[in-house]
């Protein structure tokens, strides 16, 4: 089990803390920027200007992407962004300014610009900004759990591994083309505020993916690996945390089954949904729906609002009694895992849905204060120094049933149903009611036994109907941490990495669409 509850957080003052596998320290080239000098310059200037709050972030984000098409490298790009930003609350209004010149003088100038921006906006602010308090964490450091930083691995070795796996896939019967992606990130964050918190952090994440394509007399079919992105390093591709060799070997067989599969008859089916698919449904229908800024209307014009309004906290029957969902920024290898958020709040684990009832929201400091709560649960995040922190999703995970059924036992309890594996197409409305998802593969279940694959399947439901139909969740052994690198939110748009743990789960009587019929063909 890779659950949040098993991980451990560093406490303030503990210094560098990693996980038992291997302890890394913060990249010395990031520390060499002179982080404290920049913070002192910006914060002291902000204090002189009379602000009630000021924080400074310096972020350096290294990213590398490689895409492969058949046996060729299709594209390559390495990027590094380094920036500094100052955010203030001045006379009750937010002000923000960012730049790329990392000198004490530039930092002080940004503080002035942030205050000037706050003054421009002050006449249009009715509700003065207040922030929930947080203990201070002076000189705290945190580094994520990984073994091999992908940036330390020779380029030729990385490309060779990707091309070898692609080649094995392409040489398989029934595979016309392949596509592959490798994306890895090293993120360094420094944060300091007027209250005295100062955090320096580093995390590494990786996203490998392979797709097999078949073009034949049946038309076009594709199938992608299930390996989720992970808060791990290069070790992920060579045997730690995922067996890519095994998955590549199995994929052509699954694709061949998909190509030959019968088209589904639209109607109502029982579903056993694998965590490789259910993580995305959790993300869209629970994760986004329980963001407090959405529920309060801050995202109304863009990402939308939420059916899970605050007046229903503690009473909304979100799902069946077997549904318990937590939010956390602590799960080992989780993509949203970190020591301290971008508002200086220490990482936590908290309940969102307990035994089927809505009991909590994701918060940043402003949202917590707006709700009269005494503390944020640490969900402030910005994807770069040049963007304003806002409430972003932590790892949001459906908890397994201790001693519960295996996936096979869940399938055995279905007379007429579908076992859905892997995520693909997804769409949900702006209040998170109506959703439609497809998947990578769909196994037909007849009388408790898988009898082959189906195709052209989409499941469509209203969020609360769906989760209330969840009859059982699988045990700890069925639990997998899925996720994405690129959850979008906010204007200007920001992208956030996030993980979602899920067991297999059984849902009764769900509406299945035939996508070919939906297209009127």
């Amino acid at each position: 089990m890779d659950a949040a509850r098993l991980s451990r957080l560093p406490r303030p003052g503990e210094g560098v803390v990693g996980y038992p596998s291997r302890v890394h320290t913060v990249d010395v080239s990031f520390l060499a920027i002179g982080l404290s000098r920049m913070a002192d310059a910006a914060l002291s200037r902000a204090r002189q200007l009379g602000v009630s709050h000021a924080d400074v972030r310096i972020e350096r984000i290294r990213q590398a992407t490689r895409t492969f098409r058949d046996r060729s490298l299709d594209s390559t790009n390495d990027s590094e962004s380094l920036g500094l930003s100052v955010r203030v609350v001045s006379d009750g209004a937010w002000g923000f300014a960012s730049g790329i010149t990392v000198t004490p003088e530039a930092a002080a100038l940004l503080a002035e610009q942030a205050v000037a921006t706050a003054r421009v906006s002050r006449p249009l602010v009715r509700t003065p900004v207040e922030l929930a308090p947080e203990p201070t964490y002076p000189d705290a450091t945190w580094v994520s759990s990984y073994e091999i930083n992908p940036f330390d691995v020779a380029e030729a070795e990385k490309q060779a591994r990707m091309l070898d796996l692609s080649d094995r896939l392409l040489r398989s019967a029934g595979v016309s083309h392949t596509g592959a992606t490798l994306w890895y990130v090293q993120e360094n964050k420094f944060y300091a505020d007027l209250d005295g918190t100062s955090t320096t952090q580093q995390r590494v994440r990786i996203l490998p993916g392979f797709t097999a394509i078949c073009v034949d007399e049946h038309g076009y079919s594709s199938m992608r690996t299930l390996a989720p992105p992970a808060g791990r390093g290069w070790e992920y591709l060579i045997g730690t945390g995922w067996d890519f060799d095994a998955e590549i070997a199995e994929l052509p067989g699954h694709l061949a089954g998909h190509v030959q599969a019968e088209s589904v008859d639209a109607g109502r089916y029982d579903l056993v949904i694998d965590p490789s698919n259910l993580w995305l449904t959790i993300h869209e229908s629970v994760g986004h729906a329980t963001e407090l800024d959405r529920a309060l209307g801050y995202e109304a014009a863009y990402a939308g609002t939420s059916f899970a309004t605050v007046d229903q906290l503690g009473t909304l029957r979100y799902g069946s009694p077997v549904m318990t969902v937590t939010g956390d920024r602590e799960t080992r290898h989780g993509l949203a895992t970190i020591g301290y958020d971008d508002e200086g709040v220490q990482a936590q684990t908290f309940d969102i849905i307990q035994d089927g009832t809505l009991v909590g929201y994701q918060l940043n400091r402003q949202m917590a204060a707006a709700q009269g709560l005494d503390r944020s649960n640490g969900c402030g995040y910005a994807d770069a120094a040049g963007h304003i922190p806002m409430q972003r999703m932590p790892n949001v995970s459906l908890q397994p049933a201790v001693g519960g059924p295996s996936t096979e036992e869940l399938i055995a309890g279905v007379d007429r149903g579908i076992y859905i594996v892997g995520d693909k197409s997804w769409s949900i409305d702006m209040q998170r009611y109506n959703f439609q998802f497809t998947g990578q593969r769909f196994f037909k279940i007849d009388n408790g036994v898988i009898t082959g694959q189906l195709r052209d399947v989409a499941y469509q439901a209203t969020t609360t109907d769906f989760w209330r139909s969840m009859e059982a969740v699988g045990n700890e052994d069925t639990y997998v941490l899925g996720g994405a690198f690129n959850c979008g939110k906010g204007q200007p748009g920001q992208s956030a990495p996030v993980s979602h743990g899920s067991p297999s789960a059984l849902f009764r009587n769900i509406n299945i669409l035939n996508t070919v019929a939906e297209g009127g063909q």
Binding site: L82, T101, Q159, A300, G386
Partner: protein
């Protein structure tokens, strides 16, 4: 505000090229941005940002062909510049041959003012907008509704230099404003948007008046079931569908059987009539009001459409669909050479026209019974072979009866193929500059018409309002 500097951006480009030991392209993009965001009749966040991104693309002869290395980095001065060049060259020398390898684009005559400094913007661009917005907040409060939205202007100046001697410069302003009006219970919602290059043409009072009118249409609520309806799509919704179609219009993907544009046996559907109406879908970098960078700028290659080797290649007006017939798909120079065709790189604007003259209001007036949409949202591909996409209606679905709007209808989930829609459109109105809703983070230069579809497929009802 741009920080004081000793070296000019042109100096940085030249220093990088001077340091290069391989055939190299250098792209420097200076970007400034200002934005305002509001919710519930008050401002929520705002900011001004500045970035400068240097990309060095080195090419190296390796066994079997030419490899490429691309490194991008934020730079405030020349610190780290040589390191970027060296890293790009290391990456190129250690890489396999690139499929899209071609000689770098050589110099050619053009009128770019290379020596001009970067253009920019800051928060003062909203000096007129901010008080107008404040007045709109007061008016909305007086009318009993709430305003939400976002205003943003980014100005990106691109300097592209090549070891071939090519030097090109372009300024790309991109502005957008979204105004969303809601009743206090969030039960009704209306949206209007505008694309702009400098905000001088944005009339908040007029946009608010239009949003208020639409919100007024929601006073009468009508529940309708899922099904196929005669539907009017406004230009914004048409833009969202056509942009998605454009993004899938890769020649190679079609020829490999991967997309809706695939023809039989390794061919594409170029030459096939997609619509009985004289619809043209085109891109034109010099189209007034929708001007965009007139040459290829690519930090990395994308499929066989965009190639780093094509950096600096002039972009010209391209008809993707002409008079209802598919006439072109996107391809880079390498794929063009391989298939004995002409390059057709993507251009950052999209224009749909069919000679229609009717406004949306006139099309409403000529509708006996049908739906009027405002926006489409969360559009995602379900089946690439047919380009079947799903999504939701948003911020106002209205019922038209006998030529007038009689009330607001519930939202729907739709399942439709925009390419299939081209076959079924029965009326195309007058094209106009419009801001798409879903994709305006990435694509906000579109000229689109309103269209009439006799049988738009609303798959299920959404409870969202």
């Amino acid at each position: 505000m741009i920080e004081a500097e000793v070296l000019t951006v042109q100096d940085l480009v030249e220093q990088a090229l001077d340091a290069a030991t391989l055939p190299t392209v250098v792209i420097l993009q200076e970007r400034t941005e200002a934005n305002l965001r509001w919710a519930g009749n008050e401002l929520t966040t705002n900011g001004q940002m500045h970035t400068r991104r240097l990309t060095v693309i080195a090419t190296a002869e390796v066994e079997g062909g030419t490899a490429v290395g691309s490194i991008s980095r934020e730079l405030s001065g020349s610190d780290g510049l040589l390191e970027v060049v060296a890293a790009a060259e290391r990456l190129a020398r250690s890489g396999p041959p690139a499929e899209d390898a071609m000689p770098l684009v050589g110099d050619y005559p053009h009128q770019d003012p290379w020596q001009d400094p970067p253009a920019g913007t800051d928060i003062t661009v909203f000096a007129d907008l901010a008080p107008a917005l404040g007045a709109a907040f007061e008016a909305a409060a007086a009318q009993g509704h709430l305003l939400f939205g976002f205003a943003e202007l980014t100005v990106t100046t691109t300097y592209l230099g090549s070891s071939t001697g090519l030097r090109r410069r372009a300024v790309q302003p991109s502005g957008r404003l979204e105004l969303n009006a809601k009743t206090p219970d969030f039960a009704a919602s209306a949206w209007v948007g505008a694309a702009t290059r400098d905000f001088s043409d944005v009339d908040i009072a007029a946009l608010h008046a239009e949003a208020s009118t639409r919100l007024g249409w929601s006073a009468t609520r009508i529940e309708l079931p899922a099904g196929r309806y005669e539907t009017l799509l406004p230009p914004s919704a048409v833009a969202d569908l056509m942009i998605y179609t454009y993004w899938t219009a890769s020649a190679r993907d079609a020829e490999e059987g991967r997309t809706v544009f695939a023809g039989p046996a390794g061919t594409s559907r170029i030459g096939e009539r997609l619509s009985p109406l004289p619809i043209t879908l085109s891109s034109d970098p010099v189209r007034p009001g929708a001007e965009c960078v007139p040459f290829v700028v690519a930090e990395s290659s994308q499929g066989s459409d965009t190639s780093v080797f094509d950096n600096g290649l002039p972009l010209t007006e391209t008809d993707w669909i002409s008079d209802g017939t598919l006439t072109e798909l996107m391809r880079n120079r390498a794929w063009a050479e391989r298939t004995s065709t002409s390059p057709a790189p993507p251009v950052d604007n999209l224009i749909m026209e069919a000679g229609g003259t009717a406004s949306l209001a006139e099309m409403i007036a000529s509708t006996e019974r049908g739906l009027l949409l405002t926006c489409l949202w969360y559009i995602r591909e379900v089946d690439p072979e047919k380009l079947l996409v799903t999504g939701l209606t948003r911020d106002g679905v209205y019922l038209i009866e006998d030529g007038r709007v009689v009330g607001a209808v519930n939202n729907f989930r739709f399942n439709e193929s925009p390419v299939d829609l081209l076959q079924r459109i029965t009326e195309v109105g007058r094209s106009e500059h419009t801001l798409c809703r879903e994709w305006n983070d990435f694509f906000n230069r579109t000229i689109m018409p309103p269209i009439r579809v006799p049988d738009f497929h609303m798959s299920t009802v959404s409870q969202a309002s």
